[in-house]
């Protein structure tokens, strides 16, 4: 029985990791219609960003939780402006091929300079240790991941399904021409969207471009999930 409880909890923890991992992928596919094969690679860049912040600048876990998504988000914007935007409206396959190629390049460059082994990133002091639940030892960090994963998933659902921002976002996916007709609303939404850390900003803020793909959303989401997971490996 003890083993069963322990394995159930391990399953829950791993489920949370996977939920965070796949959230960005699901949102990008659902909202932006892009099969983002570079998801994992961009996710890794988020991890490297946090690693560099710590090892080159001495910036720890908590500030990195804010800074790294912005940095990777900017990278996503550059990708969108320079490459992905030209594929808007084409078959899914083109986006797939492009992002797959990007993934191979990013992965190759990082592997060339940093090797294939993981790089150490210590768990912050606040999240170290664990508690004995009787049937198993639960590392606090993993408990934090479960909570964070729940919060991020619910917040994303709420944002997309229940807010005006989300409604506009969905509308823009369904019928970009009609949304463009409400130009003013789109401009107003700019600030709100930017407040959400560029998560969906490109898509809303650039009214006339709404039909174009916005990989910075994936990047930011990737990053959030990544930041949580990276201490693990």
């Amino acid at each position: 029985m003890q083993a069963l409880y322990a394995q159930l909890l391990v399953g829950l923890i791993n489920g949370s990791f996977y939920a965070l991992l796949s959230l960005g992928l699901a949102v990008i596919f659902g909202m932006l219609n892009i099969i983002n094969f570079a998801h994992g690679a961009v996710y890794m860049m988020g991890a490297f960003c946090a690693y560099f912040l710590l090892h080159l600048m001495g910036i720890g876990y908590w500030p990195a939780l804010i800074i790294a998504p912005i940095v990777v988000g900017i990278f996503g914007m550059i990708l969108e402006r320079t490459m992905l935007q030209w594929l808007a409206g084409l078959d899914h396959l083109y986006g797939l091929l492009l992002t797959f190629g990007l993934a191979l390049i990013i992965q190759g460059v990082f592997q060339n300079y940093f090797g294939s082994s993981g790089l150490p990133y210590a768990i912050p002091d606040e999240l170290k240790g664990g508690m004995n639940l009787g049937f198993m030892f639960l590392p606090i960090y993993r408990g934090w991941v479960v909570i964070f994963s729940l919060v991020v998933c619910i917040a994303t659902w709420y944002l997309i399904e229940k807010t005006r921002l989300g409604a506009n976002l969905r509308a823009a996916t369904e019928n970009p021409k009609l949304v463009r007709a409400f130009g003013e609303t789109v401009t107003l939404l700019k600030c709100v969207a930017r407040g959400w850390n560029g998560l969906f900003s490109r898509r809303i803020a650039s009214g006339p471009d709404t039909a174009r793909k916005a990989p910075e959303a994936p990047a930011a989401l990737d990053w959030l999930s990544f930041r949580i997971c990276d201490c693990r490996w």
Binding site: Q2, Y113, G115, S116, S117, A122, I123, G129, R232
Partner: protein, 407 residues
């Protein structure tokens, strides 16, 4: 007219004979294939670093100045025996490779072993661990240079049992290597009065060990033996720290640990681990000099692991044998016999010998991972705890089941 024909026939025969004997005695072309995991969980301990080590051996051998032409190619076996054997066959049949070096991953190494025997090539294995390469599955074409599971079991394993770790739980990579390491360590544990209380097998290249570690934790064994390597070992150790396994009083036995693994784990978590290697970059002036040259040519500035150092030393010995033969006979058995007949002596592994079963004998060193406060540089990780002479570290010939010994 008749004379003319005869003389030209004679001349033709003489030319053919001359070129044939020229080929036998004077062929100075060597082609070497470095077969490794180039991008997976063993890529940092072998991979591109092993190819570099092979190139450095070719440069340092001084053979090029004596008219030899040495070519080195590399390949990625992706940790899959079928890909490894296909590549090896292609190298022998199409690319006319003479020698294959490195080949980490025991599963691939054993599969490639049979191909090389069939093609009569030379096999200098550095990366694989299984002691079967020079025991049950030994071959007259094979030299197993760096280390093996028997050595790991009789050094790290034995030291831990003697220090009181008499109950063991194994976390084993589920393929030839894990099985061999668990088998060899188990025999040492039971011979020393210890007991195996359980074990669990995990697939190669696992990222999440929490379920396995919980089983190990609840087994209450004093020692959790990690019969895995590379990325699997670093993941197990990092996650074991997270689950408070060491703080809970259990000890981790990193039966096989490489320099790059310690780097990946970080000294904070890795400190105090006991393990065995046959090479460390910071042993003496010669190893330091080589490692400095090596690191300068590595993209990430890493000094050589014992596997990469083994590729270098193994090839240096191979080149010495070729030079002694006066040319490349393109006959694997002949070259390996020559290698076995010469004592080994190189700057990285010191003096040693190759036994008739293909096992290279040299000293093994027991190390302990330094505390972060003791480390003076980015790769200053090991503290030397003890030295085991080669004849005690490796399989005694009397215990070897190798068919080559029954001649």
């Amino acid at each position: 007219m008749k004379n003319k024909i005869i003389s030209s026939l004679l001349l033709g025969t003489a030319l053919t004979l001359a070129s044939a004997s020229f080929a036998l005695a004077q062929d100075k072309n060597v082609k070497i294939g470095a077969l490794s995991d180039q991008s997976g969980l063993y890529a940092d301990l072998g991979g591109p670093g092993s190819t570099l080590a092979a190139q450095m051996a070719a440069e340092d051998s001084g053979l090029t100045a004596k008219g030899w032409k040495i070519e080195i190619i590399s390949g990625d076996h992706q940790n899959k025996p079928d890909i490894g054997t296909t590549l090896a066959r292609q190298w022998f049949d199409v690319d006319k490779v003479d020698t294959i070096v490195d080949v980490p991953n025991s599963g691939v190494a054993l599969a490639v072993n049979t191909v090389i025997k069939e093609k009569n090539g030379v096999y200098i294995n550095s990366g694989a661990a299984t002691s079967d390469l020079t025991n049950a599955q030994c071959s007259p074409n094979t030299v197993h240079w760096t280390y093996d599971t028997y050595m790991l079991a009789h050094t790290t394993g034995q030291a831990l049992v003697k220090a009181g770790g008499d109950t063991w739980f194994f976390l084993t990579a589920d393929y030839a290597f894990g099985a061999a390491l668990e088998r060899d360590t188990t025999s040492v544990i039971t011979a020393n009065g210890g007991k195996i209380v359980g074990g669990v097998k995990h697939p190669l290249n696992t990222s999440d060990f929490s379920s396995f570690l919980l089983q190990a934790q609840s087994s209450k064994a004093k020692i959790i033996g990690l019969a895995n390597a590379g990325g699997d070992t670093t993941n197990s150790i990092k996650q074991a720290a997270e689950f408070g396994i060491v703080k809970g009083g259990q000890k981790l036995a990193a039966l096989l640990l490489f320099l790059t693994d310690v780097k990946a784990i970080g000294l904070e978590t890795a400190q105090g681990l006991n393990f065995t290697e046959t090479f460390y970059w910071d042993m003496n002036d010669q190893t330091r000099a080589f490692s400095k040259k090596f690191a300068a040519r590595m993209k990430n500035g890493a000094p050589p692991t014992m596997v990469q150092a083994g590729v270098y030393s193994g090839l240096m010995h191979y080149f010495k044998a070729l030079e002694a033969l006066g040319g490349n006979p393109h006959d694997g058995i002949k070259v390996v016999e020559k290698m076995k007949s010469m004592p080994t002596d190189d700057p990285l592994f010191g003096k040693g010998e190759i036994q008739p079963n293909g096992r290279t004998i040299h000293s093994a060193y027991l190390f302990e991972v330094k505390k972060p406060s003791e480390s003076k540089g980015p790769w200053d990780f090991y503290k030397l705890v003890g030295t085991v002479p080669g004849d005690q570290a490796f399989t005694p010939l009397a215990d070897s089941k190798c068919a080559l010994l029954k001649k």
